[in-house]
Symmetry: C2
Amino acid sequence: MKVIIVGGVAGGASCAARLRRLDEKAEILLLERGPYVSYANCGLPYHVGGTIEKEASLLVSTEQSFRVIFNIDCRTNNEVISISPDRKTVEIKNHLTGEVTSEKYDKLVLSPGAAPIRPPLPGIDLPGIFSVRTVPDARNIREWLDRDKDRSVGNSFTGVDTVSKPKRAVVVGGGFIGLEMAENFIHRGLQVTLIEKLDQVMPPLDPEMARIVKRYMKRHGIKVKVNDGVAGFRKTEDGSLEVLTESGKAYSSDIVVLAIGVRPETALAKMAGLEIGQRGGIRVDERMRTSNPDIYAVGDAIEVKDFVTGQWTLIPLAGPANRQGRIAADVIAGRDSRFRGTQGTSICKLFDAAIAQTGTSEKALRQLGDTDYEKIYLYPNSHAGYYPDAKLLIIKILFRKSNGLLLGAQVLGEEGVPKRIDSFAMAIQMGCTIYDLEEAELSYAPPYGSAKDPVNFAGMVAADVLHGDMPIMHWESVGDGFILDVRNPPEVTAESVPGAVNIPLPQMRERLGELPRDREIYVLCRSAQRAYYATRILLQNGFMARTLSGGMMSRSHSVSQTNS
Amino acid sequence: MKVIIVGGVAGGASCAARLRRLDEKAEILLLERGPYVSYANCGLPYHVGGTIEKEASLLVSTEQSFRVIFNIDCRTNNEVISISPDRKTVEIKNHLTGEVTSEKYDKLVLSPGAAPIRPPLPGIDLPGIFSVRTVPDARNIREWLDRDKDRSVGNSFTGVDTVSKPKRAVVVGGGFIGLEMAENFIHRGLQVTLIEKLDQVMPPLDPEMARIVKRYMKRHGIKVKVNDGVAGFRKTEDGSLEVLTESGKAYSSDIVVLAIGVRPETALAKMAGLEIGQRGGIRVDERMRTSNPDIYAVGDAIEVKDFVTGQWTLIPLAGPANRQGRIAADVIAGRDSRFRGTQGTSICKLFDAAIAQTGTSEKALRQLGDTDYEKIYLYPNSHAGYYPDAKLLIIKILFRKSNGLLLGAQVLGEEGVPKRIDSFAMAIQMGCTIYDLEEAELSYAPPYGSAKDPVNFAGMVAADVLHGDMPIMHWESVGDGFILDVRNPPEVTAESVPGAVNIPLPQMRERLGELPRDREIYVLCRSAQRAYYATRILLQNGFMARTLSGGMMSRSHSVSQTNS
C-alpha cells in the first residue's frame, strides 16, 4: 500500500508517524511545499517577540528524522500541484529544482492547512506588511525590525535619533494571532495599535467578555480600535506606512501585521472534485474520508462538526489537527477510529492573563435562534482569598434551561484559567450538567483553589437558578426596573446605580416594609452573593425578586454600558 | 422546625447557611465548641510559616455574621456534651461561663470534625510538642517560635549565640499537613527532620511516586526518615526535646509537630447510639442521614463511599465536607439531594512543586485483590517544549484492563499540575475511559500546554497498551529479562542499565538480525517514546517485544531500585 500525504505540520506529520507505527510495510510519501515538514506555528508570535529566541526551537521534526526514525519518504519544498483521482496520481513540483514528477497513490491524505487571508486592498503588497503563518514569515518580520535597528545603530554615531528605527506597529485583526502579536510587539518596545473590523476583539468570546479583554489590552499600552475595517495601505513621504480604515482614519506605522484569519486551502481538493462544505472547508465524514473513497483530509483545511451546536465549523487549531491526523492513519490501517467533532476549546495568553473558552457562546446560540439557555457570571478568586496573591477570575457559563446541560464556558484571569477551562472542557465533552459541576471533586489546597472551586461554584449558582431558588436578571434587560442594592453604604458611596434603593443585607429582614410588592425587585451587590441571600429572604417573604447576575462586577462591562 | 448543628468550620457552617437560604423560617442553632465558628484550617501551616501573615485572615465567617446575615443563633465556645435521641435534646456546655443548658431539636446535624491523633507515647505532653488543627494550635506554635526568638534577641547583647534559639524542628508524619509544616519550617529558617512510620511519604500516592516526593524534599533541605515510628519524647539537659524512634534513633529538636493524621470525632455519635462504620467514622446514607432518622452527620467525622473502589473510606477534606453540609441542608428542607461519594482528589504544595492525586491508587487496588488494571507512567512537558521554562510532569494513571475505564491518576511537577489533575478528576467523575482522554479537547497555547496535552497523551499511550499496539513491561517485573536500549550512544554512556543491548532507534530496521526471536525483548529509552516506536518495528517483524513503561525516567524511582 502506498500512501501519499500532502502537507506536514500538525495534521500531516502526525498522520504519517501514526501510519508508520501501525503499518511497518506501507510505503509512505510525505510532501511539504514549505522548507520545514513540521514546525511550531503556535510559537511564531513568541519568536517575533523574542521569548523564543532561536528559530531552530520551532522546528519540531526534520525531514531527516522522518526518514531515519519512521522510514518515511519525506520531501520538503515539494508541492503537490494537481491530483488525478481517476488515475490516482499526484503531480509534484520540486521548488528547488523546478522539476515536476508524478506519483501514484493507493490512499491520499490532504493536509494542506489554511492560508492567511490577504484581502486585495490597495497597497497590501507594500514592504513592511506581513502575515504570521510560517517560519519564513517570522524570520521576515524579525529581519524587518532588526534591519531598521541596524540602521538606527548606524545613525547613533551622529547622536541623532533616526526616524527609521521601528517604533510603531499596527496589527490588523483581534483574534488569537492578533492579540499575541500585539503583546509581542509591546515586548519589543513598539507602540502598538490593533484594528478590528468586528465590534469586539477575540471573536469566540461573547461581546461583554471581549470588552474586558479590550480594556486589559489598553491597560497594557495597546491602542485598540474596534468596529473599523482596513481600507488600504500607503507609503508616506518619510518612508513609513499608513493604514487607512473604512471610517476614514489613518494610522502611521513602521510595520503592519495582518492577522485577519485564515482560509482553508481547498484549491487541490476542488481540482480533485472533492465536496466542499458550507463553510468553505473540505467536507469529510467522521473517519476523515472525503467524498472520494481513496482521499482523506485533515487539519485546518477541513470542516468539522461542532458537537455542542451540531453545526459545521472551521477550527484551525493544532489539537484537533493532530487528532484528525491520527484518525486518518487509523482508518487507512483498517481500524474503526472516529473523530467526535469539536467543542472549540481555546486559550490565549495576554500579558499576565489568559483568555479561554470552550463549548458554544451566547452569540452563537442566538444566531441559531436557540432560546433554551441561561447564563451566569461569576467573579471568584483564583485560589483561597486568605492565601496571598489570589486573582480575580471572570467566568461566564451557558447551560440548557430545560435540563441543565453545560453548553459553554468563558474564563478570563491572571491565574488558574487553564485549570478551570479544562475542567469545563472535560465536562462538556462528557455531557455534564451543571449538577455534575456542583459535585465535581477538584483539587484543592489554598495556593491553587478553594474548597468550593470556581467550577463547583458555577454549578451551584446555575443550579440555584434552575431550581428557582435564585431567579436572575441580566443587566441588558433591567431597563427602568426597581433595583435594590444590598451592599454596605461605603460601597454604595464609591459607585452606585442611579435610582437604586439601598438596604444593606444585614438590615433586610427589618426593612422589608420599605419594598414594593407589586413589581419585580432586582437585587444587586458587588458580585451577586449577598444579592442571592437577599433574594432568598425576599422570595420567602412573598416578594417578586431576581438577583442581578454578576452584580456591579457585571455592570461595568455589560452590553447596556456603551461608554467603555 | 428547629435544627441544631453541632460544629462549625466547613461542614456545619455550610449546612447552616444553606439551610437558612432554603428555609427563612427554620430556627437554626449553630454550636461550635471552639472560639471560631468558621476558619480556614487548610491555611494554618502557611500562617505558621508566615506566608499568611495575619491570624485574622484565617477567619472565614464570624459568629456575628451568622447572626446578622443568616439570622442564625450561632454560639461559639459552646460544646454539645451529650445527646438524648429519645427526648431529642442536646446538653450544651458554655466554656466561658461553665453553664450547662439543654436544647430541643427537630433535626440534629453532627459536624464534629476529626481530632489530631496523639498516641499515648512517653513524653507526648512535653512543652514544645504541637498539633496543627485549630487557630489556637497555630498561635501556640508561632508563640513558641517567637518566644524563643525573643530570648535569642536578649542574649544577642552578650554576642553569644544562644542554644534556646529555635533551630531544629521535627515533623512527625509525612502526609499533607506534615509536608506543609516541613516546608513552612524551612521557610522560617529551621533545620527540619520529617519522620514517617510508613515506608513512604504522602500515603495516597503509590510508593514509587512517593519516592520522587521524598527526593524532592531532600533536595529542599528536609531530612526525611521513613519506615520509623516515633516511640517517645524526652527533654534533654540543654532544654531541647529529643524524639525517640522505634528503631532506636534520637533526634534533637526545639519544636515537634505531630501530623500523624486525624481520627473522626465520634464520641457524641456513640453516646447517641448511632451506627459507626468499619473505618471508625459515623455511618450515613447518601442523604447524610445517620442510623437515627432525625440525626444527620457531615464532614471529617463520617465515613464515605469511594465511588471508584466502592469501599468505605475516611476523607477529611474541606471540599467534600462543604458539599455534605449543603446536602444535609437540602434533605432537611425536603429536597432530594444525594452525595455521590468521593474519589479522593487532593493536592499539596511542596516548595515549587505540586503533588496531586485523584481516584484510586495501585496499592489500594492490590489491597482489594483487584487485578483487572494496568498502569502507565509518562514524563511530558508542562507546556510546549519550545516555549521557555517548561517543567517536567510526572504522571501515573491506572485504568481497567478490561474496558479502559480510568481508575486513578497521580501527577507531580512544578507547573501545570492543577490543570491536569482536575481534568483527570472530572474524567473519573464522569466515568471516562482512556479513549475519552485521547479525544479530550483541552486548552492549548504554547505557555500552557501542548497540542497533545499530557492528558491526551496519557489516553493515547494507555490506548496503545489496550489495543495491543504497545505491550508494556514494568521495572519491578523485568528480572533478568532481555533489555534493548534504543537510545543514542551518548545517552547510554551517561547512564546505562547493566546487561542491556544498545541499538539506537535509527539503526533498528537494519540490525534486527542481532536480536533474539526466542524470548521477550523489553525495549528501553529515556521516557518510552522511542521505545514504543521500536516496539512497533519489532512486533511487526515477528519479535516478542514490550515497551518498558516510563523508560529510564521510571527506573530511577521504580520499586526495584532500593538504593534511593
